[in-house]
C-alpha cells in the first residue's frame, strides 16, 4: 500500500513537468502579452515592466527560471494583480471553492445515490421513470438557467436565502444546490446502471437464498459493486467541483478559484495561468489516487492488484 502511494507520487512528477512545459510554451506562443492593453501604454513603462518580470530575457532562460522557482514551491508573482503572488491568490480563493465543492458533492451523493438505487430496484416503474427523467432534465439544464431559477424561487419569491454573496452559511445553500443537482443527476444514472448490473449477479441470488432481507441484499451485497462506477467518476468530478466554477461564481458573486482560470487566460497573466493549471493538475492526480485507494477499499481484488 505504502509502496503503491509512493510510486504514484513519484509518477506525478514527470506528469506535472510535462504539463508545466506545455502550458509555459503555449501561453508564450499565443499572440499578445500581459501588458498589451487597448490603450497603449508608454513604451518605456512597458519595457520597465517587462524587465521587472524578466520577460526581456531569452524564452528558454525564463522557462528554466520558472522551473527552478517551481521546485521551491514558488509560482511567481501575478502580472495582473500587482503585489500578489499567484500562490497567495490561490490560497485565498481555494477555501471558498473547496467549501462550495464539498457541499455540492455532498448534495450530489445524498440525492444521486438513493435515487439511483431506488430506480434500479423498481426498474420500469414510475419510481424508475420519475428520477431518471428528472436526472435527464438535470443534465440538460445548464447551471446558468438553474441558478437564476433557484434565485428567483427561493430568494426573490420565498425570501429564504440570500441571492448572492459569500459571507455566511446561508449564502452557501443556493450555489451548492445549483452545482450539486447537476452532479446528482449524473451520480443517479451511474448508480442505477451499476446497481442493475450487480443485482443480476449470482452472488446476489446467493444472498437471497440465505434468507437476507431486501434491505440487507442491497446494503451488504449489491451496493459495493454497484457503486464502483460512481467512485470512478467521483475523482475527476470532485476535482472539477473544488477547482471552482466560473459560471456559478459569476451568477452568485462568489470569490472562488474559477474566475482565475478564465481571467488569467484572457489577461495573458502567464504565471497565473501556469499556477492554476498546475494546481488543477495536481488536484486531479491527488484525487485519482484517492479514488484508487477508495476502490481498493471497496474491492478486494483491486487491493491485491496494488
Amino acid at each position: 500500500m505504502k509502496k503503491f502511494v509512493l510510486s504514484r507520487v513519484v509518477q506525478a512528477v514527470p506528469t506535472l513537468w510535462v504539463i508545466a512545459t506545455l502550458t509555459f510554451f503555449m501561453t508564450r506562443y499565443a499572440p499578445g502579452g500581459p501588458f498589451d492593453t487597448e490603450k497603449a501604454i508608454p513604451q518605456e513603462i512597458k519595457v520597465k515592466l517587462e524587465s521587472h518580470f524578466g520577460l526581456d530575457r531569452p524564452l528558454f532562460d525564463q522557462y528554466l527560471l520558472y522551473l527552478k522557482n517551481l521546485l521551491r514551491g514558488d509560482l511567481g508573482p501575478s502580472f495582473k494583480y500587482p503585489g500578489w503572488e499567484v500562490s497567495e491568490l490561490i490560497a485565498t480563493a481555494f477555501p471558498v471553492s473547496l467549501t462550495l465543492g464539498v457541499l455540492s458533492l455532498g448534495i450530489a451523493l445524498l440525492i444521486g445515490i438513493p435515487a439511483g438505487i431506488i430506480a434500479a430496484l423498481r426498474k420500469n416503474t414510475w419510481l424508475d421513470y420519475l428520477p431518471m427523467s428528472l436526472s435527464m432534465a438535470g443534465i440538460c439544464l445548464p447551471t446558468f438557467v438553474l441558478g437564476p431559477l433557484l434565485i428567483y424561487i427561493f430568494s426573490t419569491q420565498l425570501g429564504l436565502f440570500p441571492p448572492l454573496g459569500w459571507y455566511g452559511p446561508a449564502d452557501w445553500v443556493l450555489p451548492s444546490f445549483t452545482l450539486g443537482l447537476f452532479y446528482a443527476a449524473y451520480v443517479a444514472r451511474l448508480t442505477r446502471a451499476g446497481m442493475l448490473e450487480t443485482l443480476q449477479q449470482d452472488y446476489v441470488r446467493t444472498a437471497r437464498a440465505k434468507g437476507a432481507s431486501p434491505w440487507r441484499v442491497v446494503t451488504r451485497h449489491a451496493l459495493r459493486g454497484g457503486l464502483l462506477p460512481v467512485v470512478t467518476y467521483l475523482g475527476p468530478a470532485f476535482a472539477g467541483l473544488i477547482s471552482g466554477s466560473f459560471i456559478i461564481e459569476s451568477i452568485f458573486f462568489i470569490p472562488g478559484l474559477g474566475k482565475f482560470f478564465v481571467t488569467a487566460a484572457f489577461n495573458r497573466d502567464y504565471t497565473m495561468v501556469l499556477g492554476t493549471v498546475l494546481f488543477y493538475a495536481a488536484l486531479i492526480i491527488l484525487l485519482n489516487l484517492l479514488v484508487d485507494l477508495l476502490q481498493a477499499w471497496l474491492d478486494p481484488k483491486a487491493r491485491q492488484a496494488q
Binding site: Y203, T206, R208, K210, G211, S213, H221
Partner: protein, 572 residues
C-alpha cells in the same frame, strides 16, 4: 430396549411435496413453458437426483421452491409446493425469507460467481446464522469456521479475512456447502454443484457433500445433467425432459430397467470407459427409431488402425510455453513431447491448468512457444516465411470449446464458412466456394437452407456442427478439438462425437482431441497422453492406459469418474 447410539438423525420436519408445478417464462419471443406440470416429493433424509438436459426445466423447478426465479420474466402459473404443511407459493415474503437458508438451503452451480467478491469467505459462511438470529456475529463466525474446517477449507483458520478470489474453484464450492449447511437445514437444494469443477475435485466435493448431509440428516435435491454422477449419490432418481417428469424410480431400477425411451437413451448415449463402440447411440435413435441418421458410419465399419505402420504426421519435442505474470513467468507447458500418427486420434487429458489447451494452441502456433520443436511431416515449421505459414495454417484447423463464443454473432453461416476459403484463395469462383460450403454443411448434417442464418438462430449442437464445417473448409489434414464437446449435453455430445468419427473415416483426418473427460477421450482416441502441471505424465494406447495405468495420477483420474460412467452395463 433398543440401543440409541448414534441414531440416524431424521427430522420430523422436512417433507417437500411439489404438485403439478407449472412455470413459464414470458419473453419477447413468446411464452416458454419451462416446467409443465411437475410432481415431485422428497421425504426427510432422502437424497433425490433430478436429472435432465439443459432446458429440461430441472433448474427452474429447483429455483421455484425458494422462489428465487427472476419474476418477470418467470411466472409460476399453477401448482402447489408444500413444505411441512406450508404452501410455499402462497406465503408472505417474510415467511419465505425465514425458510430460505434456515430450513431449506441452496448451493448453486458456479462457485466463481456465486460468492460475493467483496466480502470475506468467513463472513459469508457465517451470514445465514446472523440473518436468522441463530447466533451472535462473533459466535456465528466461530460456527462458520468450524463448518469450513469440516468441509476441508482449513485456510480460514489462519486467514479469517481471505476473500473468494484467493480460493480455488473446489475450495469455493466447499465454502458454498459450508454456507448452506451451517444452519443445519432440513433440505438442501443443490443445483449442478459440481459441474464447473474438475473430475478429481468433483469426486472430493461430492464425498464431502454426501457425508455431511448423511451426518446432519439433511435431505437433498441434487440437480444434475449427469446421470452417472447422480447414481453415485441419490436414493431415487427423477428424470425430466422438456418440462415434464418422464420417469422416477429408485436409482437401482432406473439403471437396470429404464422404462421411458428418453431415459434409455440417456443411459446409452454416454461414452464409457469399458465399451468401445464404433458409434454412440443418440437420443434420436430412441425417440425416433426410424430416423436413420449416421448410418453411413455403421456401414463404414472403421478399419482398425495399425498405429505402428502409420507415418508420423506431427511431432512435438520438449515444448516449453511460459506466460509472464507479476510473480515471474509461469510454465504452462513444461517440456512436453508428443507423437501423432496420420489418420489417428491422439487424446490429451488433464485437469484445468494442466497445460493441455496451451499445448494444443502452440502446436497451431496460436500461442508462441518459448523453446522446443514442432515437426509437421518431418519438417520444422518456420512461421517467418508467410507462404509457409499460410500453407501450414491451411492444413491445420481447430474447433473450440464454446460454439457460442467462437462464432462471430454478426456473420452469417455463409460468411463464416467462406472466410477461410477466401483467406487461402480456395475455389475458382464465388459459386464454386458456395457449392463447397453447401456440401460441407450437408456433410455435418445441416443443409443449404441454413446459409443465411446467424449463429444465434442455432442450438449449441448445431453451432458446433457449423464450427466443424468451418474447420473443414480448408480441407485440413489435422484438427485440434479443444474440449469441443465439454459444454454439451450428453445426447448432443454423442451426435458431435459421432460426426467427428465419421468425418475422420471418410476424410482420413488426424485429430488431437483435448478434454478433461477421460471417458470421452477414451471413446475418441487411439492413443492418449495424460498431462499434469504442464508435464506429460503418461503416454500410451487408449486401451492399455485405461486397463493398466502406469502413473498414480492417471489412476486418480480414472477413479474420479463416477462408476456408472465407467461401464455401459452398470448395475448397482
Amino acid at each position: 430396549m433398543p440401543s440409541i447410539q448414534n441414531p440416524p438423525k431424521i427430522r420430523e420436519m422436512g417433507n417437500l411435496d411439489i404438485q403439478n408445478l407449472k412455470v413459464s417464462f414470458h419473453t419477447r419471443e413468446g411464452i416458454i413453458h419451462a416446467v409443465d406440470g411437475v410432481d415431485l416429493s422428497i421425504k426427510p433424509g432422502e437424497i433425490i437426483g433430478l436429472v435432465g438436459e439443459s432446458g429440461s426445466g430441472k433448474s427452474v423447478t429447483c429455483n421455484s421452491i425458494l422462489q428465487l426465479l427472476p419474476t418477470p420474466p418467470a411466472r409460476i402459473e399453477a401448482g402447489k409446493i408444500d413444505w411441512s404443511g406450508k404452501d410455499l407459493l402462497n406465503q408472505h415474503d417474510k415467511k419465505i425469507r425465514g425458510i430460505r437458508g434456515k430450513e431449506i438451503s441452496m448451493i448453486f452451480q458456479d462457485p466463481m460467481s456465486c460468492l460475493n467478491p467483496y466480502l470475506s469467505v468467513l463472513d459469508q459462511v457465517a451470514e445465514p446464522l446472523v440473518i436468522h438470529g441463530m447466533a451472535s456475529p462473533k459466535d456465528a463466525r466461530k460456527q462458520a469456521c468450524e463448518m469450513l474446517v469440516r468441509v476441508g477449507v482449513q485456510r480460514v483458520v489462519e486467514h479469517p479475512h481471505a476473500y473468494p478470489h484467493e480460493f480455488s474453484g473446489g475450495m469455493r464450492q466447499r465454502a458454498m456447502i459450508a454456507m448452506a449447511l451451517v444452519t443445519k437445514p432440513s433440505l438442501l437444494l443443490a443445483d449442478e454443484p459440481t459441474t464447473a469443477l474438475d473430475v478429481t475435485v468433483q469426486a472430493k466435493v461430492l464425498n464431502i457433500l454426501k457425508e455431511l448431509c448423511t451426518d446432519l440428516g439433511v435431505s437433498v435435491l441434487f440437480v444434475s445433467h449427469d446421470l452417472g454422477l447422480v447414481a453415485e449419490l441419490a436414493d431415487r432418481v427423477v428424470v425430466m425432459y422438456r418440462g415434464k417428469v418422464v420417469e422416477q424410480n429408485d436409482t437401482r431400477s432406473i439403471f437396470s430397467n429404464p422404462q421411458h425411451s428418453y431415459v434409455k437413451a440417456l443411459i446409452a448415449c454416454r461414452p464409457t470407459l469399458e465399451s468401445t463402440p464404433v458409434r454412440l447411440l443418440t437420443v434420436d435413435d430412441f425417440m425416433n427409431p426410424k430416423s436413420g441418421k449416421d448410418q453411413v458410419l455403421e456401414k463404414l465399419a472403421l478399419p482398425s488402425l495399425n498405429l505402428d505402420t502409420q507415418e508420423t504426421l506431427l511431432e512435438v519435442q520438449d515444448l516449453v510455453v511460459e506466460f509472464p505474470t507479476e510473480d515471474g513467468p509461469v510454465r504452462a507447458v513444461d517440456g512436453a513431447s508428443l507423437v501423432i500418427r496420420r489418420g489417428s486420434t491422439h487424446g490429451l487429458v488433464g485437469e484445468s491448468g494442466s497445460g493441455k489447451t496451451t499445448l494444443g494452441r502452440s502446436i497451431l502456433h496460436l500461442t508462441k512457444a518459448n523453446s522446443g520443436k514442432i515437426l509437421y511431416q518431418g519438417n520444422v515449421i518456420s512461421l517467418e516465411n508467410i507462404q509457409d505459414r499460410t500453407k501450414f495454417r491451411k492444413s491445420m484447423q481447430i474447433i473450440f470449446q464454446d460454439p457460442y463464443a467462437s462464432l462471430n454473432p454478426r456473420m452469417t453461416v455463409e460468411q463464416a464458412l467462406l472466410e477461410p476459403m477466401k483467406v487461402h484463395g480456395l475455389g475458382k469462383s464465388r459459386k464454386d466456394r458456395i457449392d463447397h460450403v453447401v456440401k460441407l454443411l450437408e456433410e455435418v448434417g445441416l443443409g443449404e437452407k441454413y446459409l443465411n442464418r446467424y449463429p444465434h438462430e442455432f442450438s449449441g449442437g448445431q453451432r458446433q456442427r457449423i464450427c466443424v464445417a468451418r474447420a473443414l473448409t480448408t480441407e485440413p489434414e489435422f484438427i485440434v478439438c479443444d474440449e469441443c464437446v465439454s459444454a454439451m449435453d450428453v445426447s448432443v455430445q454423442a451426435q458431435v462425437l459421432n460426426l467427428l468419427r465419421s468425418l475422420q473415416a471418410s476424410r482420413n483426418l488426424t485429430y488431437l482431441f483435448i478434454s478433461h473427460d477421460l471417458s470421452v477421450v477414451k471413446f475418441m482416441s487411439d492413443e492418449i497422453s495424460v498431462m499434469q502441471n504442464g508435464k506429460m505424465v503418461e503416454n500410451g494406447l487408449a486401451e492399455d492406459l485405461y486397463r493398466d495405468p502406469k502413473s498414480s495420477y492417471t489412476r486418480k483420474l480414472i477413479d474420479s469418474i463416477p462408476l456408472a460412467n465407467r461401464s455401459s452395463n452398470f448395475r448397482l
